[in-house]
């Protein structure tokens, strides 16, 4: 791709050469602010290779207070994201406050994060199937300042969630998102109970696609009295009629109901929904659709023509499903 001409109809009077000169003469903090917006991967892979001035800027720990390594569609597979992430964490020299990782998280990486960053305020783990309950449990103890936590499209049992609640007294925002599904019909209040019992200071809670029931919701309303926003979209075991609906409306300022629109949901919101609420799905196909979402939710979101053959490629992720069905 050729760069477009930049001289044409500019309304400023600067000549090309002046523009270029200006660009390198922008104050250091301004250039840093621009480069920071590119995200960790692009800083390491592009920006710091442009010139010495940029490379030096990119070595400053203040550039690495936030590390966003969520997956992008154009992810370059010629590098190892975990090594890259470790390098980014090292560059932050303990100043890291905000980290997002997707797909490549492991217990070791989590340990590296918590050991090198005592200032962490925001942690987001998306589709990190390699992180175990034990790994998360251990990390919890090292996150005393954590205020915002997101665990999306991966599953943990009640214990590490409770540990996070106990060890992170400043936790204000928790997102625990799953792919929504209606069948098979599974009721699962463990996560809701963990939240209710260990996170009394929560202000914002997102439980997209959770299997909690009205009991779990009641427990949350009791256990988290300061809750201001609650997102229950695609929580199809929750029925917000009668007293519970009334209570929610009174207690929660911003409530997203199970069947509310999902346009602004951050991840693909395709439901495992074959058009019925049939609990005895003889083919088990709906489970398959659900599992597939865990692996490649960009690719499969909202598609209903997923076939059994496709599933064979994702056999490794049976374990992920066992958590629910075992």
């Amino acid at each position: 791709m050729e760069p477009p001409s930049s001289s044409s109809s500019s309304s400023t009077s600067s000549s090309r050469s002046e523009q270029y000169r200006n660009w390198l003469e922008l104050p250091r903090d301004v250039t840093a602010s621009i480069l920071q917006r590119l995200g960790a991967i692009e800083i390491l892979e592009s920006a710091q290779k442009v010139c010495m001035h940029w490379r030096n800027l990119c070595k400053d720990p203040s550039m690495w207070r936030a590390i966003d390594m969520r997956n992008r569609e154009d992810w370059d597979t010629s590098f190892d994201p975990e090594k890259m992430c470790r390098h980014a964490i090292d560059r932050s020299s303990g100043q890291l406050r905000d980290i997002n990782i997707e797909y490549f998280g492991t217990d070791d990486l989590l340990k590296h994060i918590t050991h090198s960053s005592s200032q962490l305020r925001h942690l987001c783990l998306v589709s990190c199937y390699s992180i175990t309950d034990e790994g998360l449990n251990e990390a919890a103890a090292k996150l005393p300042l954590l205020e915002e936590l997101e665990i999306s499209l991966c599953s943990f049992s009640k214990e590490p969630l409770m540990a996070l609640g106990r060890c992170c007294p400043l936790l204000k925002s928790f997102k625990l998102n799953q792919q929504g599904s209606r069948s098979p019909h599974i009721e699962w209040d463990e996560e809701a109970v963990a939240v209710a019992e260990s996170m009394p200071e929560l202000r914002h809670l997102q439980l997209f696609g959770n299997k909690l029931t009205n009991d779990g919701l009641n427990a949350i309303l009791n256990g988290c009295p300061h809750l201001e926003s609650l997102d229950l979209r695609q929580c199809f075991n929750v029925y917000l009629s009668g007293d519970l609906g009334k209570r929610c409306a009174e207690q929660i300022k911003s409530l997203r109901r199970p069947n509310d629109p999902t346009d602004d949901y951050e991840y693909a919101a395709g439901i495992d929904d074959d058009g019925s609420f049939d609990e005895d799905d003889p083919s088990g196909m709906s489970d398959i659709d659900y599992l597939s979402e865990g692996y490649g939710y960009y690719a499969f979101s909202g598609e209903s023509d997923f076939s059994y053959d496709d599933f064979t490629d994702y056999g490794d992720f049976y374990d992920f499903g066992d958590y629910y069905f075992g």
């Binding site: 930049s6 309304s11 400023t12 523009q19 270029y20 200006n22 590119l38 692009e42 892979e45 290779k49």
Partner: protein, 177 residues
């Protein structure tokens, strides 16, 4: 373009402030707009404290680092505030915002706008134009960025070598463990 900022709803509260650019153009702008530039605000308040001027309109505030063409664009941007910097909730909204940011011209224009916004301490503008410039280099190769901005690769061979050693993730087949 006229250097006087139009005011479709004149009212007693819309006091004007005169700004003088590096090329000696005078801009008469509404106080509300001028006060978004913290540098101007500070100057104006200092003047008031010194009792040099009771009314802003009688004071001309010099902006020796800002060209008239740039100031005109900043003022027109100001009038579109405030929605511009609200965080986009979803992909679609982000795309709309990206398009909006693209309207502010070439990287060269943006660099001028950023310099001016920085000098004027105009935080919303700086945020907006920084992001607009970042959009231009997002997902672009090193060569593209260099060419686009006229930046020369100035690495010594030993720097390149050091880089390859330090950043082993980037090269296939290299395993540092």
């Amino acid at each position: 373009m006229s250097n006087t900022s139009e005011n479709p709803n004149p009212s007693s509260s819309s006091a004007k402030i005169t700004l003088k650019t590096s090329d000696n153009e005078l801009f008469e702008v509404e106080e509300a707009v001028a006060m978004k530039f913290c540098t101007v605000k500070q100057y104006f308040e200092d003047e008031k404290d010194n009792d040099v001027a009771a009314r802003g309109s009688s004071t001309v505030i010099p902006l020796p680092n800002v060209h008239s063409a740039v100031l005109a664009r900043l003022i027109s941007y100001c009038k579109k505030l405030p929605q511009s910097n609200a965080v986009a909730d979803n992909h679609e909204e982000e795309e709309t915002k990206k398009k909006e940011r693209k309207q502010y011209g070439t990287p060269g224009d943006l660099v001028d706008l950023i310099s001016a916004a920085n000098y004027l301490d105009f935080k919303e503008g700086l945020e907006f134009f920084n992001q607009a410039l970042a959009d231009h280099i997002q997902n672009k190769s090193v060569e593209y960025v260099r060419k686009f901005f006229g930046i020369k690769g100035d690495f010594e061979p030993h720097e390149e070598e050091k880089y390859r050693e330090e950043y082993a993730w980037a090269f296939e087949g290299v395993d540092e463990d």
